[in-house]
């Protein structure tokens, strides 16, 4: 607080843009979060429509609503879309919006890199999705097993879009992960030590590590596939002696951590929601945090449980079976800690809370079926059947999607300053909950009764008709449920009940500032003394027996106070935890904000052009391909250089 220097002199570069340019040039983490949220919801509709068409086809035996060719594209794109274009970006929306707010930072560590991540995601998503409109979408399944996906057996362009698209999306995820991990390590407000971080931030931190360590592996596996398809290498070519299992191993070394990448943010969100609506702190905070780390860590040692049928031999089966089972322990710890967070509380059944409770109830079902595949001899009867499809929808939909819905209802007021309609929310919840179980519960039966997955048709009289019929009707009911949500979402932005700063009486920093938060988040960076800083202010009596300390304050003062004037550099002025209700502009407060810039978008576009040249080359148009490569490279390098040589903020 030593320095509220004279207002910085803003250059023209710093002038705020308006309208669409505002969105294209934004480097504000909250806006980028908003972009992620809307894009991901759009892709959810895409993935959902794909699912509904599949269910239409599977409703009856020997149906001919869609061809085999189309069906294969549908499930491939459905899985790919839901995993890479829906849940990961929905989580990213929350990383963006919430992490800086929860740790008391003004932005992420690298705001422009953050914008870059989003644009790469958007371009990658479109790149991989658009081909389905031309019946040329990827059709090798979301885990794209070789050799089927090699050039010999998938000679069309279809799989090119997949291998390149996932590669593009990987760039986005990795860039974002470095950014958020650095943010969490390094941008926490004074006093916000690790064991005071809100649980969502904790789980996000684990997720960033999973991304940092898992994505390089898929990157390499994809490079091999690209080289095979475009440059004639033999990594996955059986005739050259390649081992088809190489891809499977590399994929699942990535793929299993990936499923925890999908679930942990949702776990984090419900860990915020459950305490808030129970009016109690999270039960066993340290254990919940540690179990998250343990889940992440163990997640790297279980990948081959997706491969029990490939014949790895008894030793590998034993090892991977047992390590997989171990994950039940830290996950169970979370489940029980959540229940005991509610225990003894005063539970308000808001929509957010309902979704959070549904996560506990439904994820447990998915977890138990997960354990049942962890036993290899038993999994041999389950793998690649609808029983597996049931498992992963219970964990993905019943876990990740339920948790994210909880997060959306909970954070909407902070995001937009208004609440979502509770009555519509309740209808959405119940319809969704019933439809979800109607869709996916029967799949357990279909699977154990012998129905393979990824089949576009099945014969009559196999004992599967009833279950498929139920599943399909469940799926058809999910559409109205989601439409109600969408209606509620967009309507509430302008017509919802005005929320105020802390409508739910929550405990963490993000609720101490106005809703929606001002561009600079915190006029004064809060100094934190405990895990529930806001309750310290609003309910000090509740906070009596929780440890408080001023750890980290001295250092922070040292680094902000005395030295500021010496270098003339602005430091955030720091103040003990307080509630900010005024909303001034950054200019008025003299807070330097990063300048908006469109360069990250152009760099991302350069990457898109570069990657797009490869399908062109594959089509035999070598010259055009080289031209595109040249253009892409120039765009990429040129704009990157421009980006890096432009100051992030105005000098002052």
């Amino acid at each position: 607080m030593a320095t509220v220097a004279a207002s910085p002199t803003y250059t023209t570069a710093g002038a705020r843009r308006t309208g669409i340019m505002d969105w294209l040039t934004t480097v504000d983490h909250k806006k980028i979060g908003t972009l992620y949220l809307h894009t991901a919801l759009f892709f959810f509709v895409v993935g959902g429509v794909e699912a509904i068409i599949m269910r239409w086809q599977l409703m009856r035996p020997n149906s001919t609503a869609v061809s085999a060719e189309v069906f294969n594209q549908l499930f491939t794109m459905h899985g790919t879309t839901m995993v890479f274009l829906v849940i990961m970006p929905l989580s990213a929306a929350f990383f963006n919006f919430l992490i800086p707010l929860q740790i008391g930072a003004r932005d992420v560590a690298f705001p422009r890199l953050n914008a870059f991540s989003y644009w790469v995601y958007l371009f990658g998503g479109l790149f991989i999705t658009i081909p389905i409109l031309f019946n040329a979408a990827p059709d090798g399944g979301w885990f794209a097993y070789t050799p089927l996906t090699g050039k010999a057996y998938s000679p069309g362009q279809n799989m090119n879009f997949w291998v390149l698209g996932i590669q593009i999306l990987g760039i986005s995820s990795l860039a974002a992960a470095f950014n958020f991990a650095t943010t969490i390590i390094n941008m926490r407000a004074p006093g916000m030590n690790l064991m005071r971080m809100p649980m969502f931030t904790w789980m996000s931190f684990v997720v960033q590590w999973l991304i940092i360590l898992a994505f390089p592996v898929i990157t390499i596996a994809l490079f091999f596939m690209q080289f095979d398809r475009f440059f004639g290498t033999n990594f996955y070519v059986s005739a050259a002696g390649a081992d088809p299992l190489l891809w499977q191993h590399l994929f699942w070394i990535f793929g299993h951590p990936e499923v925890y990448i999908l679930i942990l943010p949702a776990f984090g969100l419900v860990s915020e929601v459950l305490p808030t609506y129970s009016r109690k702190p999270l039960f066993g905070y340290p254990v919940v945090a540690y179990s998250g780390i343990l889940i992440g860590f163990l997640g790297f040692g279980v990948w081959a449980h997706h491969m029990f049928s490939v014949g790895m031999g008894p030793i590998a089966d034993t090892v991977f079976g047992v390590t997989t089972m171990l994950i039940a322990i830290p996950t169970g710890v979370k489940i029980f800690n959540w229940i005991f967070t509610m225990w003894g509380g005063a539970i308000r059944f808001t929509t957010a809370m309902k979704f959070a409770i549904a996560l506990i109830a439904m994820f447990t079902i998915g977890g138990i079926s997960g354990i049942s595949h962890a036993s290899p001899p038993s999994d041999l009867q389950q793998t690649d059947t609808y029983y597996i499809v049931a498992h992963f929808h219970y964990v993905l939909y019943g876990g990740a999607i339920m948790g994210i819905f909880a997060g959306i209802y909970h954070y909407f007021p902070k995001w937009y300053g208004r609440k979502m309609d509770e009555r519509l929310g309740s209808i959405h919840f119940w319809l969704n909950f019933i439809a979800f179980n109607l869709t996916f519960f029967p799949m357990h039966y279909a699977g154990m009764l012998g129905m393979p997955r990824r089949i576009y048709t099945y014969d009559a009289g196999q004992g599967w008709e009833t279950f498929n019929f139920l599943s399909s009707w469940g799926a058809f009911l999910m559409a109205p449920a989601f439409l109600i949500f969408i209606w509620n979402f967009f309507r509430s932005k302008t017509r919802g009940e005005v929320a105020g700063d802390n409508p739910w009486d929550a405990a963490t920093l993000e609720w101490s500032i106005p809703s929606p938060p001002p561009e600079y988040n915190f006029a004064q960076i809060p100094m934190v003394t405990s895990r529930y800083p806001l309750w310290d202010l609003t309910h000090p009596e509740r906070m009596k027996d929780i440890p408080h300390s001023m750890d980290g304050w001295d250092e922070a003062k040292l680094r902000t106070g005395e030295h500021v004037t010496a270098t003339g550099v602005h430091e955030p002025d720091v103040a003990p935890m307080h509630i900010e209700s005024e909303r001034k502009s950054a200019k008025e407060l003299g807070i330097p904000m990063p300048n908006p810039t469109i360069k990250p978008l152009w760099v991302a576009a350069g990457i898109l052009v570069l990657f797009s040249s490869l399908p062109v080359m594959y089509a035999g148009k070598t010259l055009a391909a080289f031209a595109m490569m040249a253009v892409g490279a120039v765009m990429f390098v040129g704009f990157l250089y421009a980006w890096l040589t432009t100051p992030m903020e105005d000098a002052h």
């Binding site: 592996v217 081992d243 299992l245 040292l558």
Partner: protein, 112 residues
């Protein structure tokens, strides 16, 4: 380079740094080990023995460690960095070893 840039506390450089003398020795040791490695490669008896592979692995691990500790000054730097490096390195090595075991088996039996 303790705190002479007063306005600029720089905790990541707070510890002592190695000096030219040390750098020189490090380079020398690296050179010697490399020479030993190549030399070992040219002793057929050694190459044929069971010691060859472990020996080479140890030598290269030593070089690896020396560069990381001294040239990347991990030894002198903040302990966070040590964590950021050794954690992933451990997972990477474990994955590599596991993969070698899992895919060591050569398949291909029959079928015309």
């Amino acid at each position: 380079m303790a705190h002479e840039t007063a306005g600029h506390p720089n905790p990541d450089h707070a510890h002592e740094h190695p000096t030219w003398k040390q750098y020189k020795w490090v380079a020398l040791i690296l050179t010697v080990i490399t020479a030993l490695e190549v030399w070992a490669y040219y002793i057929p008896a050694l190459v044929a023995s069971v010691f060859f592979v472990p020996l080479l692995l140890i030598m290269s691990a030593a070089k690896f460690a020396i560069v990381v500790l001294f040239y990347m000054h991990l030894r002198y730097d903040h302990r966070l960095f040590r964590l950021l490096f050794t954690g992933p390195l451990t997972i990477a090595m474990a994955t590599l070893i596991a993969l070698l075991f899992l895919l060591a088996r050569t398949g291909a039996l029959h079928v015309s």
